[in-house]
């Protein structure tokens, strides 16, 4: 689905991404973890075609990315809702941008809103929602057009731990049905191990890949698995990669 080859990205003097290459297979759930400022958000933006790479290239569905890609759902670090729109019309925003009729996707949107636990809030304005609820709206919005590729930039970053865990399981449920290809940026190692097939561990700026960890735990992953020795082992492996950087 996505191939990244020798990706490098500098902003003037600052090299955000030093060198990055990896593949994301169809239906794969891939997480990127790494210290703050190592270029995770930048990498997502390059994959989405929102920023040009300084060197290297990105292929999505076999075609080199030049300009914003299509059939993608993106969740940003912040909810980015339009304040004048209700929950429902915010979720339907991408449909309007595509120039399609809202009514055609209304049922789908309502279903997603229900799934996200926002039933009854369809007509509320964003300011009437908590931060976590807003972020859930953003996730519904990314899913409304049933894209086969999802780019998620710390979608649960602003949530409290309890909600965050629940949302993680919800995402797993959505993914197990929709089988989207997901590139998921997170700070939480547990979250990465719980959700992913593959974890890309990055070094500090300039970001390079430290290690690619394959998560061979069976699915569906349950909360009880977090105590599983294999789970602990994988989490420790990822953690070691990150911790080692502090020592270096």
């Amino acid at each position: 689905m996505v191939t990244i080859e020798g990706l490098k990205k500098s902003f003037g003097e600052v090299t955000a991404i030093g060198d990055m290459s990896f593949n994301v297979a169809n239906h794969e759930f891939l997480s990127i973890v790494g210290p703050s400022g190592c270029g995770k958000s930048t990498a997502l933006r390059v994959i989405a075609g929102l920023t040009e790479p300084t060197a290297g290239k990105v292929l999505v569905r076999g075609a080199e990315v030049r300009g914003p890609i299509k059939d993608v759902g993106m969740v940003f670090q912040a909810p980015v809702l339009l304040p004048w729109r209700s929950v429902l019309t915010n979720v339907l925003f991408p449909i309007e941008m595509r120039g399609e009729r809202r009514s055609k996707y209304q049922a789908k949107a309502l279903e997603l809103i229900k799934l996200a636990g926002l039933e009854g809030f369809e007509n509320h304005a964003p300011y009437q929602l908590s931060g976590g609820m807003q972020q859930r709206v953003a996730i519904c919005r990314a899913l409304v057009s049933s894209p086969q590729l999802l780019l998620m930039d710390e979608p649960f970053g602003a949530l409290d731990i309890m909600t965050r865990e629940r949302m993680g399981f919800e995402l797993q449920k959505i993914w197990s049905v929709g089988r989207q290809t997901v590139i998921f940026v997170t700070h939480s190692i547990t979250e990465a191990v719980l959700l992913s097939d593959t974890i890309v561990v990055m070094s500090g700026r300039p970001g390079t890949i430290k290690k690619i960890v394959k998560v061979d735990l069976p699915r569906p992953r349950l909360a009880s698995m977090m105590k599983d020795p294999r789970f602990v082992e994988l989490a420790a492996d990822v953690r070691d990669q990150i911790d080692a950087q502090w020592v270096e």
């Binding site: 933006r45 989405a48 929102l50 914003p68 890609i69 299509k70 993608v72 993106m74 940003f76 912040a78 980015v80 339009l82 304040p83 004048w84 925003f93 991408p94 449909i95 309007e96 941008m97 595509r98 120039g99 304005a125 300011y127 009437q128 057009s145």
Partner: protein, 254 residues
């Protein structure tokens, strides 16, 4: 009932002022041509009511609203040009800033030469005074969209036209209503100054003729009409804003 009282509260200050004024003038025994009592002003207002309404609505109100409408159209169009044609901004902004620092009222005699003694001069003055705040606020409203919102729109396949209609334009509405609240009184000033210097119609003209005849109650009566008109305009803008813009105040409340 309590709600009704709450709505009356803003008027309470006026009542107090009027009472103090009335009593003060009587006690100090001011001559009428210096400071007439409110009752005298009201009597003069009533006596000249048809004249007042005529001058206010046929002349001043008309030129103010037309000038403001022109400023709205031109201001928003100029902002669009600046927002969509980036190089234009660097070119046009210093020019406009320099232009805006000219005291427009000082240009009024020139406008009389160009546009004559009629309504045109007043419309142009009203326009000149009110266009800048509308232009500046429109630039912010149309131009300063959160980068992520634009990225999201582009990723969803949004064309520039759709992004304009569904993001930029709506984002600009509260900025424009804010600007109108500032621009409306400015346009009114433009009209009145125009009436001071040329022609023989309008609330400004009434003020001036009151001054010529030492008819101070008429001056005050005309001023009162102008103030009521300004209040009416600003209230209308506020009502429009409340109707169309529910979100900005909502976010402010948080």
């Amino acid at each position: 009932m309590i709600n009704a009282l709450k709505h009356l509260r803003p008027f309470l200050g006026f009542v107090v002022l009027l009472v103090v004024w009335q009593v003060g003038v009587r006690l100090a025994n001011f001559p009428e041509y210096i400071l007439p009592a409110p009752t005298v002003i009201l009597a003069r207002l009533w006596a000249t009511r048809n004249e007042q309404l005529y001058h206010l609505f046929v002349a001043t109100g008309f030129t103010t609203v037309v000038g403001l409408a022109l400023a709205l159209v031109v201001g928003v169009l100029m902002a669009l040009a600046v927002v969509y044609i980036k190089p234009l901004k660097a070119m046009i902004m210093p020019l406009l800033a320099a232009f805006n620092s000219i005291p427009k009222i000082a240009v009024a005699p020139l406008l009389v030469i160009w546009f004559g003694l009629g309504a045109e001069t007043k419309i142009v003055l009203a326009f000149l005074l009110s266009v800048f705040p509308i232009f500046v606020n429109s630039i912010t409203g149309l131009g300063e969209i959160e980068a992520d919102v634009l990225d999201l729109s582009r990723l969803s396949g949004g064309t520039p036209w759709r992004i304009f209609l569904k993001v930029r334009l709506i984002n600009a509405v509260p900025y424009i209503t804010d600007a109108l609240r500032i621009a409306f009184p400015l346009a009114l000033v433009g009209s009145i100054v125009g009436e001071f210097i040329a022609g023989n119609v309008g609330a400004g003209y009434l003020v001036l003729s009151g001054q010529f005849n030492l008819d101070t109650p008429l001056v005050f009566a005309a001023l009162l009409c102008i103030t009521l008109f300004a209040t009416l305009g600003i209230t209308l803008i506020g009502l429009l804003e409340n109707h169309f813009v529910t979100w900005k105040h909502s976010t402010r409340r948080r």
